[in-house]
């Protein structure tokens, strides 16, 4: 049956139909719905972990035991999970394992615009990147096959537009669950130096083999133009859709679904079939740099921005096509920013903090909205957990006068995520720090997920707190 699905739901279906038995994740826009949709399948295990590192390690444990597993997070969550990521590249997997990471070009709801593809390159892990919901479904299934075939975790990159756009998906029959036996294998799974030294060449050889696979894999494809334009475009993800919107079938397109490692021969052959090659990719020039490194002359970031989201307008403008005629009204339209929910108890707290002119170090969550007028109550927001550890350092540097006038605020889920380690440092190194935990017993900003402080698990069943 044809169904409209957001990209994230399609990933969840693809993982499930691909035989995924265990998912452990931490919520983060725009990745949250993958795990929420997966939690509706009753014959697979699904959980919210306290943070992305724990989630990734839990999924790794499930893979080690022989089941297909996954973990999901937003781009900055992969920073938290980077520690297991780099060494899981060395150990490889037992059951297939997929790490879904959702980037947020345009920063609709994020504190930075980092490009996750750098992690795939740095950790030497293959990365797939779909451009719509059907591909999200198909690629998620393919990810498990690649994972087991090449003995590697697979990174699965989403972006806001693919994650939150609905398009038509046709699902296929669910794969039969295969559980691999667990066998003790210290040389593969104990990454002490003596073993890790032997695994590193394996990783390099694996990358070479996956690059070879990617030359002919159906996940990458060339779409021949009708000959009316003499140039070609190399692209991936949502940029592909914008290019097709502007040029239809008039240009040749190399559409990449495997964005790490990149297929050298395929790119060279494509480039030699057209007179000029453009690379269209959001954020950093990863494909462009690769092309230039292998001696393929391409035009990329000198024409397309390194910041923000693209659209068909971005592409049309860059190629010098004229703007579409539109209407504008002269009235000044006041902005309508999101606000703290009606009745939110944090409003009263921020009112008092602001009135007393305190310095307030903030954290990641809906209380960041306390920085907006009329509350104007925050001084700093950096990353998950940084309010507590930042306050400690601020007070160490500022001494007793600073301590009296400075506090930090952190929500319950963020405190469980990584605020608690900062508080341990406050206690251990004895700074006089006032930490305010804004406990509304829910992970608010991402749309009300359970967490270790709420007393319920992802299915809504009672849990320890």
């Amino acid at each position: 049956m044809k169904q409209l699905m957001i990209g994230n739901e399609a990933v969840a279906r693809g993982l499930y139909d691909g035989g995924c038995a265990v998912i452990s994740s931490y919520p983060g826009t725009p990745s949250t719905e993958i795990t929420e949709c997966f939690s509706k399948f009753d014959d697979a295990y699904c959980e919210w972990a306290p943070n992305e590192k724990v989630a990734t390690e839990s999924a790794f444990g499930a893979s080690l035991r022989g089941k297909r597993s996954a973990c999901c997070m937003k781009h900055v969550g992969l920073n938290v999970a980077a520690d297991p990521l780099f060494t899981m590249s060395y150990t490889g997997v037992n059951g297939g394992m997929v790490i879904c990471v959702a980037d947020d070009p345009g920063m609709h709801s994020s504190q930075n615009e980092q490009d996750s593809r750098h992690y795939a390159i740095a950790s030497k892990i293959p990365m797939l990147e779909p451009s719509d919901s059907q591909e999200a479904y198909d690629f998620a299934r393919a990810a498990f096959e690649i994972s087991e075939k090449f003995d590697t975790p697979v990174l699965f990159k989403m972006c806001t537009r693919v994650a939150h756009s609905q398009s038509i998906v046709e699902t296929r029959e669910k794969a039969t669950d295969v559980e691999k036996p667990y066998e003790k294998n210290p040389q593969k799974y104990i990454m002490a130096p003596a073993n890790a030294i032997r695994r590193h060449p394996f990783v390099e050889e694996r990358t070479r083999k996956i690059a070879e696979f990617s030359e002919t894999s159906g996940l990458n494809r060339v779409e021949k133009g009708d000959g009316s334009k003499n140039f070609g475009i190399i692209t991936s993800s949502t940029s592909y859709q914008y290019i097709k919107e502007v040029f239809g079938d008039t240009v040749s397109v190399l559409k990449l679904g495997i964005v790490n490692p990149l297929p050298e021969k395929l790119i060279k052959d494509f480039a030699s079939s057209v007179e000029k090659v453009y690379v269209v990719e959001e954020l950093d020039p990863i494909i462009e740099t690769f092309c230039k490194n292998i001696g393929v002359d391409v035009v990329g970031k000198e024409m397309f921005s390194i910041t923000g989201e693209f659209s068909q307008k971005t592409i049309a403008k860059a190629f010098g096509l004229s703007d579409k005629e539109n209407v504008k009204v002269d009235a000044e339209i006041p902005v309508r920013p999101p606000m703290m929910c009606a009745g939110c108890p944090h409003r009263g707290l921020f009112y008092v903090l602001s009135k007393n002119k305190l310095t307030v170090l903030g954290d990641i969550g809906c209380y960041t909205l306390g920085s907006a007028p009329p509350l104007n109550a925050l001084d700093m927001t950096l990353c998950m957990g940084a309010s507590v550890s930042g306050l400690h350092g601020f007070n160490i540097a500022g001494g007793s006068e600073t301590e009296k006038k400075t506090v930090c605020v952190i929500g319950d889920s963020t405190f469980m995520h990584s605020g608690v380690t900062g508080l341990i440092n406050v206690a251990y190194n004895m700074s006089n720090s006032t930490v305010i935990i804004l406990d509304n017993s829910i992970t608010g900003m991402t749309g009300h997920q359970q967490n270790p402080s709420t007393g319920y698990n992802i299915k809504g069943d009672p849990a320890a707190r």
Partner: protein
């Protein structure tokens, strides 16, 4: 068929999600390729929200850009004016005349422009405006503004009334179907068109 573009705009919490779900369901049932796009995350907290619905033989981009929208369905007056630059020449705005003040207006840092509908009309925009909130209340729930507006939009489409009703029945919880059918009917039979 060339791709048609509908934007649904409003204030977070007004029910744009159900409106886009209804349209998506209807258009898929009609056999079109469909893409619906919205950005989640901040919208639940009274911010400005926008949803793109595109349909045709083959739809690529999930977003609607300046001068591309055939219709803008706005749940609130100011939001119609905010996104009117997305409307193509000759496009139609369907707007609920309700006024919801944004924070800068509430705290006195900005003024709510009073004559946005007249301004749009002066620029040659076809504006179909109505007090959808009153119709929604008449149907039995102030929350049905979204479906009243879908009723107005339906007048511009060559899709049978019954098919819209059947899409409502598929998208709405059983206990709310009657209210929403009534709301749709009131919108469909409202004055202009």
């Amino acid at each position: 068929m060339e791709t048609k573009n509908i934007m649904i705009v409003g204030v977070g919490g007004q029910g744009s999600l159900l409106a886009s779900k209804l349209l998506g369901r209807l258009l898929v049932d009609e056999g079109y390729d469909v893409k619906v796009s919205e950005v989640h995350g901040m919208s639940q907290r009274g911010g400005s929200v926008v949803t793109y619905v595109r349909f045709g033989d083959r739809v690529y981009s999930p977003v609607i850009e300046d001068g591309e929208a055939d219709f803008i369905v706005s749940f609130e007056k100011l939001e119609a004016a905010r996104y009117v630059d997305k409307l193509r020449k000759g496009g139609t705005v369907v707007v609920n005349t309700q006024q919801i003040d944004p924070m800068p207006v509430i705290i006195g840092a900005a003024k709510y422009p009073e004559d946005v509908i007249e301004q749009m009309e002066q620029k040659g925009v076809h504006v179909d405006h109505l007090d959808a909130l009153s119709f929604a209340n008449e149907a039995g729930s102030s929350k049905a503004v979204n479906i009243v507006l879908m009723g107005v939009l339906a007048k511009y489409f060559d899709i049978a009334y019954d098919k819209w009703i059947s899409a409502i029945e598929k998208c709405v919880k059983p206990q709310f179907i009657e209210i929403n059918k009534k709301a749709f009917e009131l919108g469909y039979n409202s004055m202009k068109g």
